[in-house]
Symmetry: C2
C-alpha cells in the first residue's frame, strides 16, 4: 500500500476518485468554482495519462459512424487552448502545446486508399486536409522514407506534452487547495437515492454529497455503481516508446506523423524537449501493464519503416498504460439517477484531449449549469437504459 | 562524483584500479593469498561485467587464426568450475552456473555453411560438436522456428549469471578484507623503474609497491602507462536485452542458443531465475553507452526470427556496456618492465570467462610463481616490442 496523505479528510463538498488528468482537471475546476474538494488516488504515477502521446487530433481518433464521438472531440479540441492557457497562467509552467499539425502518411497503395477514405471523412467534418505526394511529404519531413506512397497534412491538429500537462494540472489543483488522500476508493456510499461519500481501501470513509468516479479503467471496481455501468469499462493496454535524440542531433521531425504501415497504424509525436513518442499498441489483455518484446519490436519496426533515422535515436523509455475502453468507444460522463453520484471515465484514447471539456461538464452539473449538448449521448444512462442513441 | 568510501587507504601491498569482475577477482584472490589489498573504483554499477550474457563458451568467441586466444579461453573454461565452486562455498551464494550446452543454429543455407566452418574449427580444438538437422534442433528446443536450416549442439559449453557472479565476487572480496575506495585512479606513480602507488581523481594518492590496472576500456586513461599500451585499449559498445517470462509461462529455452540470422550473430541465454538474455551488438562508437532504437529493434527482430515466442516475453531491461577491445582481440595481462606495475585488461568479450585465470596469473606473479604458459602471447610487451607473436 502506498503511504497515505498526511491530511485525512473526513468531509468535503466533492470527493473525486482518481488522480489522472480527468480527476485532476475536475478537481482543479471544482475548487476554482469555490467547492471544497478532496481527491483520492493511491498513486499519481500510475495513471494512463502518463503513458500517452498527447495528440489533440479530434477526427483521427473517431471511427466512421462515430458521429457523436466526433462532435465531442471537436468540442474538446476547440476548448483545449483556452484551458491550457489558463493552466499555464496559474502555474507558470509550459505544457508543451505544439501547433504544427499532423502529417498522415501511407506506406503502400492499400494504406493510401484507407487514408483517402479517412480524409473524406475528416473533410466532411469540416477539417482542413491537404493531400501531398511522396515528394511533398518529404519536403515537410525530410527524414521520411521515399517509399512513402503519399500523405495528407491536417494542419489543424495540435499536441500537448502529456506529462507536463499532468504535472501542471496537479500543481494547479494543489494551489486551489484541493486536499489529496493517497488511498483507493472501494465504494460509493449511497443512502435514500443520494450519494453520501466514499469508502476507502484502508477502511476509512469520507462524507460528501457529491462523488465523482474518475478512476479510468479501474472505475468498474467501485462498489455502489450499477453492475452494467461497472461492466462497461475495461482496460485496453497501450504500449509506447519514448525516444531521445543523441547529443548534437537536431530534432528529426517537426509535425506529428501518423503512419499506416501495411495496415498497422502508428504515430510519431515530437516534443519541445527533444523527445519523440512512438505509439501505440491496442491490446485486450485485462489489467496487464508489462512491456512486451513483440510490441516494442513492432513499434520500432513500423517507425523505422517510415522514418529510418529512428534507428539512431536513443530508446529512453518503454511503457504501458491501461486506457479505459467502453463498448461504444465513447466516454461515460455525468449522473444516472443517484443524486450527487457522477461518472467521468471511459475516455479511451482521448483522455488528454477531453479532460478540459469533461471538467467543464462535471463542474457545470455541480454549479447548477447545463453541460454542453454534445455530452447528451455519453451519459452513463446508456448502459442502464439500453443501447447508445448517440448516432 | 560518486561518494568516496569512508575508509581512505593511504598504503597497501596491492592497489587495484577497477571494480569489474577482473579487478574484483584479482582483489579476492590476492587478499586470500595474504596480501593487503585496496580496490579503487568510482562506481561498481558501471562495469561492463554487468552488461554481459555470461557465456562460458571458449571457442565460439575465438575467430579463425586466433589460436593463442583459443588456448587461453580453453584454460579459462577448464578453470571456471573450481573457481566458481570456491566462490559459492565462501559466500553461500549461487552464481547460476548452467551446463546444458549451446545449440548453435543457422537460419538460412549461407548461415549454415558458416556454422559448418566454425564446427570444423571447434572440432579441431578437440571440442564435442553434434550436428542436428532442423527437426532435431526443435526436439532440443521446441520453440525454435521450423525455418531454422540446421544446427550443432556444443554440449561442453556452460554459462553463468554474470550479475550473480559479480555480486558473489564483491562479497568474497569484502569478506577477505579488501578495502574499497570509491574514486578513480588517474595515474600510476612510478619512480626509479618501480611502481610506488596511484594518484586519485580527488587529488589524493595511495602508496603501494604493486599496482594492477584492471579498469576495462578506461585502462588507457591511466597516466604512467606507455602510450602504445594505453592506445591499445578501446571501448567496443555492446547492447543487450534482459527478457522475463510472464507469470505462469515456463522457460522457453533450456540451452544457450547462438543463432546466425542472415549473417548476423545473436545469442539467447537462459537464466535460472527465468530471465533470458538476448545479445549483443558490437559497435565502434567510443565511450557511448546509450541504448539505441535500431539496436533494440535488430536484437528483437533476430531473436524473434529464430524463436518467435520471444515476442511474448516481457522486455525487462535494455542496457549497453563497453567491452575493452584490443587490436588483436586478446587480453593484456602482466607486466612490461616497470617493477610492480601490472595490467589486467583488454578481455573484450571474454571478461567473465577469463576472470578466474586472470586472477590466477596476476596473483601468481605477486607470490613469486609462474603464470600459466598460455599467457605468454598476452603480455603488454607486445604493444611495446612490436606486433603480436601469439600465433
Amino acid at each position: 500500500m502506498p503511504a497515505k496523505g498526511v491530511l485525512v479528510a473526513e468531509t468535503a463538498d466533492v470527493v473525486i476518485a482518481g488522480g489522472g488528468v480527468i480527476g485532476t482537471a475536475i478537481a482543479w475546476r471544482a475548487a476554482a468554482a469555490g467547492l471544497d474538494v478532496v481527491l483520492v488516488d493511491p498513486d499519481h504515477g500510475d495513471a494512463a495519462s502518463l503513458v500517452a502521446a498527447g495528440m489533440l487530433a479530434p477526427v483521427s481518433e473517431a471511427l466512421f459512424g462515430e458521429g457523436a464521438l466526433l462532435r465531442i472531440n471537436l468540442l474538446a479540441v476547440r476548448r483545449f487552448p483556452s484551458f491550457a492557457a489558463e493552466l499555464e497562467d496559474v502555474t507558470g509552467r509550459h505544457v508543451g502545446l505544439r501547433r504544427e499539425g499532423t502529417l498522415a502518411v501511407a506506406y503502400d497503395p492499400g494504406d493510401y486508399a484507407a487514408l483517402m477514405r479517412l480524409t473524406a471523412f475528416r473533410r466532411s467534418a469540416g477539417l482542413d486536409a491537404e493531400e501531398r505526394d511522396s515528394r511533398a511529404c518529404r519536403q515537410l519531413e525530410s527524414f521520411l522514407t521515399p517509399d512513402v506512397h503519399g500523405g495528407v497534412l491536417f494542419a489543424g491538429d495540435w499536441s500537448v506534452d502529456n506529462r507536463r500537462y499532468a504535472a501542471a494540472l496537479r500543481e494547479a489543483m494543489a494551489a486551489a487547495k484541493v486536499r489529496i488522500v493517497r488511498d483507493r476508493v472501494t465504494g460509493a456510499l449511497v443512502r435514500d437515492g443520494r450519494a453520501r461519500g466514499v469508502r476507502l481501501a484502508d477502511g476509512g470513509s469520507i462524507d460528501s454529497a457529491v462523488v465523482v468516479i474518475a478512476a479510468g479503467c479501474w472505475s468498474g471496481a467501485v462498489a455502489g455503481l450499477p453492475g452494467t455501468v461497472r461492466a462497461a469499462v475495461r482496460p485496453v493496454k497501450g504500449q509506447l516508446l519514448r525516444l531521445r535524440h543523441p547529443e548534437g542531433m537536431a530534432p528529426v521531425i517537426t509535425h506529428t506523423i501518423r503512419a499506416t504501415v501495411r495496415g498497422t497504424d502508428i504515430y510519431l509525436v515530437p516534443r519541445a524537449d527533444g523527445e519523440m513518442i512512438v505509439g501505440a499498441t491496442q491490446e485486450e489483455r485485462g489489467p496487464d501493464r508489462t512491456v512486451t518484446a513483440g510490441a516494442v519490436h513492432d513499434l520500432l519496426h513500423d517507425a523505422m519503416s517510415v522514418l529510418p533515422v529512428t534507428s539512431e535515436l536513443i530508446l529512453a523509455e518503454t511503457c504501458a498504460g491501461l486506457r479505459p475502453g467502453t463498448p461504444d468507444n465513447g466516454p461515460i460522463v455525468g449522473g444516472f439517477g443517484v443524486d450527487g453520484l457522477l461518472l467521468a471515465t471511459g475516455h479511451y484514447r482521448n483522455g488528454i484531449l477531453m479532460s478540459p471539456v469533461t471538467a467543464d461538464a462535471i463542474v457545470a452539473g455541480l454549479t447548477g449549469q447545463r453541460p454542453a449538448a454534445e455530452w447528451g449521448p455519453f451519459s452513463p444512462r446508456r448502459f442502464i437504459a439500453g443501447p447508445a442513441d448517440g448516432d
